[in-house]
Symmetry: D2
Subunit: 373 residues, 4 copies
């Protein structure tokens, strides 16, 4: 296959992370189909030009509809604010493009369903990048190998602390209209995708959502405040179809923690623990080994033995945040090459959206809600 | 006041922990009223004699009723299996004795209420020892000084791993009749007592309880099993009267963790974190300090400056599990000496029991339950 | 054997630590010969009386010579400033007493040799308490079992931070006359004793000693300073007779660390690491296990399987500083009971003193010095 | 300035790390002079082609002399085995090229001196990449700001574990002829460069070097062994010109540690600690703050406040190994742009080489050696 021409819609922090993935994937994975940074699209002139210049996008565009109409675009990558995902992705899919979309898939369950329907005939992908951390991929392999046996409990947290910061400007993430939700879609969606990748579907949830500061001073308008209608924290109790008992917690008010996405899986013959703050290690406890020498051990990930997958550098040479995007893209391209779609597809994104929706309903109705899975 | 004569009812692991406290309190707190290890009472002959011999109890007794009738006994300390707490404590209180009781206060809320009623006229105390860890006492002082401001979220976990162990013998802790509950009373009660000591009453809860292995092989009867009717794990979402959002988790199936009682409090100007696995430190993050140098720091506890309270050894010379009992007893005796009861009293134990009861009802009815606090 | 009557010479911080050991050893080790806190001796009236009162010493005495003359004293325990060790211990041994002595054994090598000679006929013991930390005892067992194979390197550090503190009063530890040396005798002696217990004799050393602040303000005499003629830090490179390469570092100027006594042993098939700041764990890495799952693991110590030795409490219930003294005394008493002296004896203390002496000479002469071992 | 044409000599692991830097520097630092991956040179056909293909080098070449003769090459980057550094770098400098060279600068002090002499007229750079870790750069700023005051002690270790691995093939790193030395040049050189960048020149050293396994089985020739004439471990005691006392340790036999490059600086008003295993954090202790709340804190680096330098991603989004090379190159290019050479230049590499040489002499002569600095 000749190189795929990519159109990137959006040029914020995610635009940079995706640009890097497009620039780097061919270096670390030279055997895959090539990608060409064809056009980047956005409405803010200066920022758009800066991104295009720094990251080598061949052209810029300000109207996403024109991008989608171009016959020389093969792939549309949506990293706009959440409320635009559905409209753009559906249009792109209907134009026959491959569609990659930032997470969460959509603002609402209805939108997500429409996206899946519209994209039935094209390759799709959702950028739940954290499941591509080597330590998380390693945990998935160990679970598949039944190294820790039946998983009794799974506990997962995404802790950030910028919520109370009075200097933080208001932006699209602070409004239900543009973001769909607060931490539920922004952070909890990552936790749920990882959990379901590792342990399968979630059957039911019982959740609480909280807005700690419904009104905040607006740092750009001295003396004025702005209202916040999204959730600052969410707590979830869950039961997986497998019988595992789950608990999830996502917060932007978790002072002391900058960006800690973590999980612990307690299995009958072992434990696995991951923290994004220490992404190059997976913590493992072996309950089947010599009792005197049991303990939680920090294992280098990627692994250093037969299971090693040093796509990037040798073990002991840490990788970082950006590599999760490069590996996501590599897997997407490999899926195209072999005709088997890489996950998470839009279907997987919809499965997450169903749980996000159940979480919201549970919090509102103060009772357990079944996800339908 | 002359020395108080103590009668200890029960001689298991807690009997040893309490015996040590009686033996040591006068050494580390020589200014307090003395205690005399007068009589220890229990039904197992050899174990009882061994405890009495090792720890210097002057006499042994096999019938707790006779102990309570003795006029030369001032203090009755109940550390029997849970189902006997109420009967013994009520009888002791009615006989005018000071009464100390192991946690949880009772098997049921009704029993706890009867105990409080019966003990209205005597000094009482519940051995929630973990609130006496120096790091926890230090956290309480920092919270009272408003060092971390409004507390948005509080997360607390008690993780043990012996649940799936096939070699673990059946005992009174595995039956609802004798233990009242599983981890809810055994572990979650500790979490709730610490939480309410630090942050005040809990207004409502939403809980899940789980029994992972309702039937287990009986290691003492090859080929046979025994049934388990208590909870192996409990998850709780909670709202404090203060507005803090809480989450609690207690488990005996948390493989990888031997005995980790922990909490994190996220406040607007700081964070506090404690782990019993590392009991000589309190982790603190200061959100008001220089942004470039923010970070979670492990502070030696007891503190090393003006707030230092080196009851035991100098800072940097770790204390252990047993010191929480010695300090509990010291505070009880100091309360007697000044006529102001040390906490947790039976009233405090009842407040915990109300939450434990709400947790059980919530798990059963699958909805939020108010505690009445 | 009837109870041994103990005379304690000295009543400072070590006097308290030893008093606790005498009070507690019979509780945790009831099968051993009993000890009786007969008499405590010292020159400071109020402090002496306070210690005697708190810890139940039957009598007090102000002249150590009278104590040694008493026929009702079986054991003399020396915890005076270092410069008095030799004189008192020799007199006690010549009077036929069992002699226990705080570390380092003596101010000089010559004194230590005289002490060994004088005490040839009586049981002796040196309070190198850190080798009795359960995690260190566990490490010794693992080394004896050749779990980590040939030990290539051993690295050990004792880090304290009070050196630069301007509020710290001058005391006997700050003068060569009374203390013999600074960190070499005070801290490095502990490291050397542990190292030689674990790995055998040290053959040669190359060392550096440093006094960072030879003159300090005297907090008790405003405007005045006092001179310091002892070492604030010592660095040692060493070769063990076994071929292991060693490095040692002791400092009172290691800001950031209150009292961290640590070692790491790198063996061909594994690694062991210990930190007194986390004394209830031993860190272990297994180089012979599955390569993919290698990692440093924190193992609970005392162990929780067949090698468990829960003299004190169950695994997961931490012990502290004081238990190292209780276990030292228990082993001393057990040695008496079976007629096989517990180590470290005065001979072992002399072996440490030989290395301390070689370290001083090496630092002075700026070359490698053989210890004679 | 138009783009600089780069010739890369060498195509091993370092060739990949440098290729990535050339590919990425313009993305993260778009304001700098551009670099063009013109030609990569090496003798192994397949590996060379693979690197060129993956990383987009325009041409390949097998003779480095021809590369240097090319008028369209502006920059020569030497990442061959050590023994070729001098010859190639000198020839390149004499041809008027800018010269970048992998570390250590040379096999011997004489070679390093010749390189500095030959390159006097051209921009030079040594790839001591670890000093570009954001946490290390942050430590340097804090030291320059005198945040921790006078530095009493500095302790630095580089721990690797592959030495005893019987499956490790023999290569140029295992021979004095091709590598110059073992861990001294390979690992200790990194430690020394970081130390001197942070604290200034080292005046004298006392060192020990050890070869644990002078003969090893050759995995590629069953039944045969190969001899090793380089050092497996090196220990150094050092005095800086500033008066700081230093200790260094580098080893390939430090089982349990994959690639841990670390330092601790103990200053009168604070401590700084870094571990490459956790490269996105700098540990800091503030001795000037409130005594009760002192503790070692893990600070996110790059910093999150006014000192933040998020060249790559936002704080909380970890960077990895490769970014140290990108930042090295960016600084080199910025130096070219402003006419002020970035450090470490060849002069700085020579200063390290002087200490490496003194270390070797000290180990051989078993005495302190002055470095001449």
């Amino acid at each position: 296959m000749s190189a795929l021409n990519v159109a990137l819609i959006g040029y914020g922090f995610m635009g940079k992370a995706h640009s890097n993935a497009y620039a780097q994937v061919g270096h670390f994975f030279p055997q895959l189909t090539k990608v060409r940074r064809k056009v980047v699209c956005g409405r803010g002139h200066a920022g758009l030009q800066a991104l295009a210049h720094a990251w080598g996008w061949e052209e810029t565009e300000t109207d996403w509809r024109r991008v989608i109409e171009r016959s020389d675009v093969d792939v549309v990558d949506v990293c706009t604010p959440n409320y635009l995902h559905a409209e753009i992705a559906i249009a792109a899919a209907e134009a026959g493009k491959m569609v990659l979309c930032e997470k969460p898939l959509a603002n609402t369950l209805a939108e997500a369903e429409a996206m899946v329907a519209a994209a039935a005939g094209v390759p799709t992908f959702v950028w739940f990048n954290y499941r591509r951390v080597p330590a998380v991929e390693f945990a998935a392999r160990l679970l598949a190998q039944e190294r820790i046996g039946r998983v009794y409990q799974y506990r997962s947290q995404y802790l950030q602390q910028w919520g109370p910061d009075p200097n933080r400007p208001n932006n699209w993430k602070m409004s239900k209209r543009t973001a769909g939700s607060g931490v539920n879609g922004d952070l909890n969606s990552h936790l749920l995708d990882m959990a379901m990748m590792l342990l399968g579907p979630i059957r039911e949830v019982s959740a609480t959502m909280e807005t700690f500061l419904p009104e905040k001073p607006d740092p750009s308008k001295p003396g004025q405040t702005y209202r916040i209608d999204i959730d600052d924290a969410v707590l979830v109790q869950a039961r997986f179809a497998s019988g595992t008992l789950g608990s999830f917690e996502a917060s932007r008010f978790a002072t002391g923690f900058q960006n800690d996405n973590s999980f612990v899986a307690h299995g009958e013959s072992g434990m696995l623990e991951f923290h994004f703050e220490d992404l190059n290690h997976l913590t493992y406890a072996d309950m089947s080994g010599e009792p005197d020498l049991r303990g939680r051990r920090k294992v280098l990930a990627p692994a250093t033995g037969p299971q090693a997958n040093p796509h990037f550098w040798k073990p002991g040479h840490p990788i970082g945040y950006e590599h999760t995007f490069i590996k996501s893209l590599a897997d997407f391209l490999a899926g195209i090459d072999v005709g088997e779609p890489a996950r998470p597809t839009f279907e997987d994104g919809l499965a997450v959206q169903r749980v996000l929706d159940a979480v919201e309903r549970s919090a509102r109705e103060r009772r357990w809600i079944e996800t339908g899975a």
